[in-house]
Amino acid sequence: MRNDVRALRTARSLSQAQLADALGVSRQTVNSIETGRYTPSLPLAIALARLFQTPVEEMFHDDDQARAEPTA
């Protein structure tokens, strides 16, 4: 699942370690989320959304769902 976490983080001049500390997770986990190798749980996704003041659905992009939706 693609996401905008890296863009949101760098826009705020935060390091992965700083974001990890703010979320209470490891730096490795932040990196895995940013690279799309790990999809966070709903509580962690909400924590990210609150931190970045961005709706979850605008931060994470379900490509499979986008392909399934009919185009106008």
Binding site: L8, L14, Q18, Q28, Q53
Partner: protein
């Protein structure tokens, strides 16, 4: 967009969960040591206590250097906790296959399948019990 929530400083105090695995390691060493001592093998008793205590110390020290080890112990990171869960599941499945192999091997050599039959039964009953408990909770 601005971030209103300040980034807190890293929390250095280790939660109680962090000490669970090292404590279990030491407790296992003491149990093995007591059993060996009672069985008359005092050299192995001392070795078992020393080995399991050394393992506990190694875990605590490694946690200071390795983020993975630290988060495996304190269980605060959902991804690493998930890795631990999946690795435990894999190890459990390997163990079940080994038990089934031992059971079949025992039957092939004229045995009645023990102790593998008991181990397999414990695994099967544990699985069903866990499934029912989890089903009631979720």
């Amino acid at each position: 967009m601005t971030m209103t929530k300040p980034v807190p400083s890293p929390q250095r105090r280790r939660p109680a969960a962090f000490w669970a695995t090292p404590a279990v390691s030491v407790a296992l060493g003491l149990a093995m040591g007591a059993a060996s001592w009672a069985g008359g093998d005092r050299a192995f008793a001392v070795f078992a206590v020393a080995l399991m205590t050394a393992l506990a110390i190694a875990l605590v020290v490694a946690a200071s250097y390795s983020e993975t080890v630290g988060r495996l112990l304190d269980r605060r990171d959902e991804r690493i906790t998930g890795l631990d869960r999946d690795a435990s599941l894999f190890a459990g499945m390997v163990l079940v296959v080994a038990v089934l192999g031992g059971f079949i091997g025992e039957l092939a050599t004229g045995g009645d399948g023990r102790p593998y039959s008991w181990m397999g039964a414990v695994a099967g009953v544990s699985y069903v019990a866990a499934l029912i408990t989890l089903r009631l909770r979720r």
